[in-house]
Point group: D2
Chain length 342, copies 4
């Protein structure tokens, strides 16, 4: 069976796994105050050119979003996000579970616009409404689209106008920053946002997200929030080891380049074969329209997500490439898509 | 440097690490609904002789306690625990953060008695008080003591008298069940409690706790709570692989036997040398009294926790053995304790 | 100045005030377990023909909604409501503050349809989403519209299909049940819903909402939730006295009839004068379009809410009648609307 | 029947009731931004000599404590209080329900000492513990004792040493400040604390507590918290009217003086009759020891609280005087206590 289900189907990149094996019997103090974790944090601070930022290593994306947002906000403050944002739909209400409302703005492509922020803020008049205080973006978005630098700068200006924090969920940040349409660096992300995450789980490590906080007002006592939410790993150095491996030789970006290249080959191949794309993704999430007959046959030969019926005769299907996707598999999938449609 | 700091200083037992390496490039569906995780859960259900129980794999102990307790209770219901319980003092108020009060009963040795439960319940008269609804035990306790079977059965009876759930935090369950003073099996634990955890982090795996729910009233929709709290690992099979390794040949208990043996050698040696113990532990946490002069010298040769001054002239120190502690290190520590005290 | 700002501008109906004065120096036990409160609850149980229902008296509407919903739901369960629902927009995120997401369905007139419930449920597939569990309606709605009996029965069927609770916010229930378009009795409301509130604050008493629970699965330990949320009034009998006055001779409905009659006169008069209505309300909230010139002059002679610009030349204005609105004031307002528009 | 059950058995002082009646048909804007509420707040600011303080009017004491504390603290911050504090035992875990742990220090007389604060802070070492951030006092305490000025000043110094906020629950502040043993003014309270409440419910009004915030760091956006917790009364002016009546001619203190005088007569009479007091109260809560034979007879003639058996032969009973207690009733109670014991 081919496998285009998602980008977290395999374990870890071999460099990461080797680093874990190599350090396995070392003895380190617990809870992420060990030397390796310190070095990993330093590597990231250097890479983003923010020596004064705080870097924390967490286990899952939902955890990272919920802990960061709950730490940053007062009880009556709310988040502005799109209705496709991961926190809006795929985290079982984790943000609301911390007491905060998400003001969900309708979006077709997963991108939040300054108009949406304006609209959300202007509607929330007084203390009978929640107080919008934080803008949540994901880059890449849940539909595979990305923000350009000017889009992000405009959002920053809008945030400043209203006194909003800007938080960027980077679960697929590597994919965003290494794709063809991208015009930003990770330094830009660090410059423009107040805090952001650097996703590892979907980019070659066993598990882990780095939370970067650049706005010094948001930094204080974060480790209390991490521990309180059960996210402080006893063997914290596991996160340090993995992120150190990712950031030692820019492996983080190298991995994602491969993922994106595989996605580009797949996307172009799909278009050439005459299939329709549902969105126009810049990264590794490819939503396409499969005739039901093709879907029926293909689903016995390849794992992928059948999202929902596109119309009576077609299925919307999602193909995802990963750091571990071999080029042969992409070509084989294209071959099948050709053959099964004939 | 010798290392008796804690039982989570190293990575994973080699069998566990090998299992992770061997399955690394396998492709599995995410979020713990893969085959390996299923097999691991089955192994545990068989081992505890409860085919109808639910087994969930989580990442950290604090997470496991908070998710289980918040899932089991209604907003106004409270937990009864000792004032030394892990949830009372070492989890940054994680339980209260989910809205539930802990009724903390004073205890010298970390063990909760039926008298304490009686006292807690009788004090809470009506709706002006929280409603006690769950008893929290840890076995082994935070001071290294353990419950006997008759103690646990009496607590069960008391719980039944008042309609209380009985939850057992098994972060160090393996140590409890393999020590000399123990008279219980893991089947007993499963029979007597409503839910309990099987700690992996402190017993040879990289990370992970298994949450076992035997009371069918408490099972429903637990995966929602796990996801909402950010504890549903994308690569859930990592937990499955590790727990499968632990429970395939009773490695779980074999590992802990070693830990306890090392602790017994250390404890007896310490007593022979004329040092005083603060508690009388059955497992691997040894609290002892070091003259300040010994402490000053030893702390340059060995890592351990200096808890707090015992009195003017002495320090209370905690030595912890682990699955990875070599016998040579224990003997070397005893040698130093002898030499430095002369 | 005329006053059409809202229906809670004055104190209490004289019968209510007299009852408070008459009982003022009586000595009663605290916290709502006194005889008068008991009698008031009995009056309501009789009136709705549900002797086994539970009736609790609370202080504010936001409090009532938040306490009821948080009491009924498990942490991962969510509410389905319209995006105009009071809990969605005018309660400062009180529901989310208890940890529960509101799934907001777009509505033009404030009414929730079975199609919206179907859509909300079908979107929420698994444990990565919150679990829809309770449908929230307000009757009358926030735009002055009402549900018919067949609408409510259809919603009940849809709730049963999905295992959802049906909760009705009756902050303006009296207005709904006494208006011309209504075809339901308060017995119907009690028959069809699982729980509902009977609003007093906007219908002639100083403050107070009665929460009625008919579904016995939802009743248990509600007084714990009420006390925990700070809603258990020390002098609980104040609520008993007021609701007893309201339900002794159906004063509750008599008051609302007047309110609605005043609204009907106003609405018809406005239409006759050629003004446009924004919605077609059945009860006492009349949203109309005022030319800016009229608004500028009228706002110096009458209090009302200028919602927001309707377009460049017009303002959307809200006029509200109450139990205390004299007919002369309605006629005088109509006179002004005529005069100022000439 | 005589009535010494509590100090909230009657309605309101006649001046308060008259003020409510007199303003009943006035039309005011809702939610406490009306002129009367403004005047009441000004009266309090003048009386405490803090023109820059913020004054909010709330409905119940539990509500006031929970809203204030949750507004002041970050999620991982905790409260230090005695184990007899109202928030510790009589508010159904309202503080924990907002996510915050109460560090309960054992106290015999309900008074918190600087030693207790020192002990609580020194125990909470790092991010594995909650972070103590707010000291909660009640004055008068739940046992009728009071703080002297030097006690309160010492606590303030201790708070400053550790960066703790000082919050004083004044549910019975009037009783504390008008009793014989008191050496403080309400200006002192305002000078020394960061925030405190002025209880109305137990001192002559129907319901209501004023929350005073003097520390400007704690003031921001409090109305959002009040609304979110369902505590923003639609007819907010009801609180304004009542507190205006209380503070127009120092009625607040005059009322309490009477309460205390009645308590003093009762206390001295009880001692003269040879009964034992359980505590040595300065205010209006008198805990005394009644032989069972006396209790059996007295309880048919007088309402009071039988706390719990004092020993085999005696009952601990609580007598409470109020603003409405007539001197005749006190004398009659003393007569009965004499007669029944003969």
């Amino acid at each position: 069976m081919l496998y285009f289900m998602n980008d977290y189907s395999e374990g870890a990149h071999e460099k990461v796994l080797n680093a874990l094996a190599k350090t396995n019997m070392e003895q380190h103090v617990g809870y992420g105050v060990d030397d390796i974790t310190y070095e990993a944090a330093q590597l990231i601070k250097n890479r983003i050119n923010k020596p004064d930022s705080d870097v924390h290593f967490l286990v899952t994306g939902t955890q990272t979003n919920a802990i960061a947002i709950a730490h940053f906000l007062r009880p009556y403050e709310a988040v502005i996000a799109t209705d496709l944002g991961h926190i809006s739909v795929h985290e079982t209400g984790a943000i609301e579970a911390t007491g905060h409302k998400i003001i969900e703005m309708e979006s077709k492509d997963g991108l939040l616009t300054t108009e949406m922020i304006d609209a959300a803020v202007s509607k929330h008049a007084d203390e009978h409404w929640v107080l919008p205080k934080l803008v949540y973006l994901s880059n890449a978005t849940e539909t595979g689209t990305i923000y350009t630098k000017s889009m992000l700068e405009d959002i920053r200006k809008t945030c400043d106008k209203y006194g909003l924090y800007l938080y960027l969920d980077g679960a697929r940040l590597a994919n965003a920053l290494t794709c063809k349409d991208n015009d930003m660096t990770i330094e830009d992300i660090a410059d423009i946002t107040d805090a952001f995450s650097i996703g590892g789980t979907k980019n070659g490590i066993l598990f882990g997200e780095a939370l970067v906080i650049t706005n010094s007002q948001l930094k204080g006592n974060m480790r209390f929030s991490i521990k309180q939410r059960g996210a402080l790993l006893a063997k914290g150095r596991l996160l340090g080891v993995q992120f150190k491996a990712l950031f030692e030789d820019d492996l983080y970006f190298e991995i994602a380049k491969h993922t994106n290249e595989m996605a580009t080959i797949l996307k172009n191949g799909i278009l050439e074969l005459g299939y329709e794309l549902v969105t126009n993704p810049s990264t590794n999430l490819i939503f396409t329209v499969l005739p039901n007959s093709v879907h029926r046959k293909l689903s016995k030969l390849c794992y992928y997500e059948a999202e929902h019926p596109f119309d009576e005769n077609n299925m919307e299907a999602r193909f995802v490439t990963s750091w571990a996707t071999p080029k042969e598999d992409v070509l084989e999938l294209l071959r099948l898509l050709k053959e099964l449609n004939e």
